[in-house]
């Protein structure tokens, strides 16, 4: 068993009463950014999707576990443990390259996906935004197979001149609501 992960975001909302109203223009920018991202994914424009990420990206989906109360802080695997995804930008790009071969059989024929990203909660930071969103990623495959992946994304967005909506994702932690996955693979992106 590993040591608990230090999670600086644990008290994202320390006191609900003190939670500041998000500036409407910031809110619109973040929502547009996520709608754009979902659009690119669902249109399978993966190369354009990759343009939303910073060069020093960390894209991470830990494994979720069912734990007793005393070990509950270990619910998500830590950085020295296994994960569902643990990617830098080059590694994430390699996944796109695999699909582009046209012979990645879990994505050929292509999955039909719909990413719904909502419940935007954002905190402004010096370089950009720390954002939490809820998502449903629906995947339909073959004739009638379907899987729904549901969870939370914890993003660190940085302001970037010339980037789509002026933002780039530097860090993304994806927390699925599933423990044992009820799907044959994770061949889509989140």
């Amino acid at each position: 068993m590993s040591t608990p992960v230090e999670n600086p975001d644990e008290a994202f909302v320390a006191d609900p009463v003190a939670w500041p109203l998000l500036d409407p223009s910031a809110h619109a920018r973040l929502q547009q950014f996520y709608a754009l991202e979902a659009h690119l994914l669902d249109e399978r424009r993966f190369r354009d999707w990759l343009r939303l990420f910073a060069d020093d990206l960390h894209y991470w989906m830990p494994i979720r576990r069912v734990l007793p109360p005393r070990q509950r802080e270990l619910e998500f695997t830590g950085p020295d443990e296994l994960a569902q995804f643990d990617e830098n930008l080059a590694e994430l790009t390699q996944r796109v390259e695999k699909i582009e071969t046209g012979k990645a059989w879990a994505e050929e024929p292509p999955s039909r996906t719909r990413h719904l990203v909502t419940n935007v909660m954002a905190r402004e930071e010096s370089e950009g935004w720390s954002v939490r969103t809820a998502f449903i990623a629906y995947q339909s495959r073959s004739e009638r197979d379907s899987h729904a992946f549901v969870g939370e994304r914890r993003d660190q967005l940085i302001r970037a001149e010339g980037a789509p909506c002026g933002l780039l994702v530097r860090r993304r932690e994806i927390r699925l609501d599933h423990a044992t996955l009820v799907a044959p693979s994770l061949s889509i992106f989140f």
């Binding site: 069912v66 695997t77 569902q84 990617e87 695999k98 044992t180 009820v182 044959p184």
Partner: protein, 425 residues
Amino acid sequence: MLTSERLAALADPDTGDVSAAIYTDEEVYRRELDAIFRTSWLFLGHESQLRKAGDFFTSYMAEDSVVVTRNRTGGISAFLNVCRHRGMKICRAELGNARAFQCTYHGWSYGLEGDLKAVPNQEAYGPDFALEDWAAIPVPRVESYKGMIFATWNTDAVDLIDYLGESAYYLDGVIDRLPGGSEVFGGIHKWVIDCNWKMPAEQFASDMYHAATSHVSAIAVNLPEDFDPLKHGLDQRDGVQYWSDEGHGGGYFLADKPNPAIWLHPRAKEWLISTYEEAEARLGAHRAAHVSGHNTIFPNFSWLAGTNTIRVWHPRGAGKIEVWAWTIVDSGAPADVKNAFRKGSLRAFGPSGLLEQDDGENWVEIQKTMQGSVSRDTTLCYRMALDAPIRRSEHSGAHEGPLFSDTAARNFYRRWSALMGSGLA
């Protein structure tokens, strides 16, 4: 009804004719649960998951949930995760540390060895009620091989080391390369694939053949610029398949120096090469050089050398499995090397793995297709290398032959048929 005649028609290990019904037939599956999974040694987990007294994890033996603990005397105990009162799960967590497990239905509590310690309002059961009579069902045989914990319900089973037989030689090439042995990373990949458990078990025993087609996209994006297919063993002339009478099997590419799989993390490849001499002194040149390959211990435990994924294909009905996959690494490796194995393994063979994705896709489609009345009676072709010369390995003593071959699969079904047929009318 399943009779020995029908069983013989389902799988003929001599001709290599196998009926697709072995993947779909519910009666076959129900018999497997008893004839295969109650008689064989099954993998539960790794000792490094149980470092101190009271550490526990839950695992499965086929569909049966079991609790595995590091008990107070430092040994390992395993018991059925079923409360003797009304059958509730005794332990509902995947892992943790505990002194006792209290059932959340009526509060019976069990010790680390499955002993019943306390029953609320015990006096209501009368004076003859004895806690000793209602312990959790123990798993009667639990043995470890170099940290790998196996168990069986079969009190007459041979010892684990004899069951592993010649396969221990190949397993050592992954788990005993260097002094200090090996350990698993925290976190187990657990996911569900709608396919029969024998598809992956048999594939890991016998099927290097699929890699060039199934995994073509993963190979393409991992090719080094100076790639030479002969040197990197995508040609079967460079390989060997092995199998043993227990039903185990595997395959690997020949090499005279370590030739790690192309999808390993660069730092992991370096490690396998830089520790070659140390591993050679320990294991001999043959094993030290064979740093990749696929393997199955009958019935449902498999591993890939080099990528270091070790996994169990837990059956969940005729048409469903739950895969549990750990990653194992040399305990003495430096942190950056461990990290390289961790990343390389999850990126190649986790549920999102660049290679793993391809296999699940095939198995799911097969399982769906085989539901058809005509489809399920299709005879499948397991005839590759039917007449190829075979020999005994000078290294392990296992049977061996050409790498691209269905021989280890036929051998898997020979063992399967023998166990399934025992006591059949």
